[in-house]
């Protein structure tokens, strides 16, 4: 049986190695496959956080559906390895700005003892079971839930419209 710390270190190593390779691989197919690794690592982290349902959804939606979509588009476009994207001064500067941003995010995170102190004290602890999540989704978060369903519909219509081949007689 894996101890929780071991599991955390293992899964976070998987996620970080996957993420580094997503950013550095020149072949987009390789980047997409490393992205699967990163997603699976994050799914493992969800499990160590006690959110089994989210881990399963992460594997199904991200590692399944979204990755298939990425690979499908890459194969459809028949892309070669992208030419070397050199490190210009502007890009080096933007990477420096990235490092500064991350440091600014990480510093208060590293000092955060517990986020619980700011929370409302007398609320019942609801474990992240499917039943509890569903009851929150359909009571407290019913309006955002409906908005998200509308968002998905809009995204679907928009995607079909954007990807559709224009007809001969209509201006592009």
């Amino acid at each position: 049986m894996l101890s929780e710390t071991t599991a955390f270190l293992l899964f976070s190593a998987i996620a970080l190695v996957g993420a580094v390779n997503v950013v550095t691989r020149r072949n987009p197919v390789h980047a997409a496959l490393w992205l699967v690794g990163a997603f699976l690592g994050v799914a493992g982290l969800f499990l160590t956080l006690g959110a089994g349902l989210l881990g399963a959804i992460q594997v199904m939606v991200y590692a399944g559906a979204i990755m298939v979509l990425f690979l499908f588009v890459i194969l459809l476009l028949n892309l070669d390895t992208t030419p070397f994207e050199g490190l210009s001064i502007a890009r080096g500067a933007s990477l420096l700005a990235t490092a500064a941003t991350v440091a600014l995010i990480a510093f208060p995170f590293a000092r955060a003892r517990e986020l619980r102190a700011a929370a409302v004290p007398d609320e019942p602890e609801l474990p992240a079971t499917a039943g509890n999540i569903a009851s929150i989704l359909f009571h407290q978060y019913a309006l955002p839930f409906e908005v998200v369903s509308l968002l998905l519909l809009i995204a679907m219509v928009g995607a079909i419209h954007l990807a559709r081949r224009p007809r001969r007689d209509e201006p592009t």
Binding site: A15, L16, A19, V22, V23, P28, A31, L35, A38, L45, F46, T48, L49, G50, A51, L54, Q58, V61, Y62, I66, L69, V73, I74, L77, L79, T82, E85, L87, R91, S94, L95, T98, V102, I105, A106, F109, A110, R111, A112, R113, L115, R116, A119, E123, P124, E125, L126, P127, A128, I136, L137, V148, L151, L152, I154, A155, A159, H161, L162, A163
Partner: protein, 100 residues
């Protein structure tokens, strides 16, 4: 129990890798993958912050993030397809019509 700060640090690192990929890469597909990494980092924060408080609520929020990510990928990849049809390339550098 793994301290919450470790999870937060890890998510900051994942988010940073996402930003780095987004600003340093010019392949629009890889840029979208970097955005997915950033959204995943946000989910780690949601679940880590909710772990000791109301875990089910954190899961519900993360579920919304996943739905938004799915919608973003669908529209984004449709945009990449339309761009490729117009330019025969997916490099972000080659689209500069709006530049003065």
């Amino acid at each position: 129990m793994v301290p919450q700060a470790w999870y937060l640090l890890l998510s900051a690192l994942l988010f940073g890798l996402g930003i780095a990929g987004f600003v340093a890469r010019r392949n629009t597909l890889v840029m979208f993958m970097s955005v997915e990494l950033m959204l995943n980092a946000a989910n780690v924060v949601f679940l880590a912050a909710a772990r000791d408080h109301v875990p089910a609520r954190g899961s519900a929020c993360a579920l919304f993030v996943i739905a938004v990510a799915a919608a973003e990928v669908a529209v984004g990849l449709a945009l990449v397809l339309a761009l490729f049809r117009l330019r025969k390339s997916v490099q972000a550098d080659e689209v500069r019509e709006l530049r003065a």
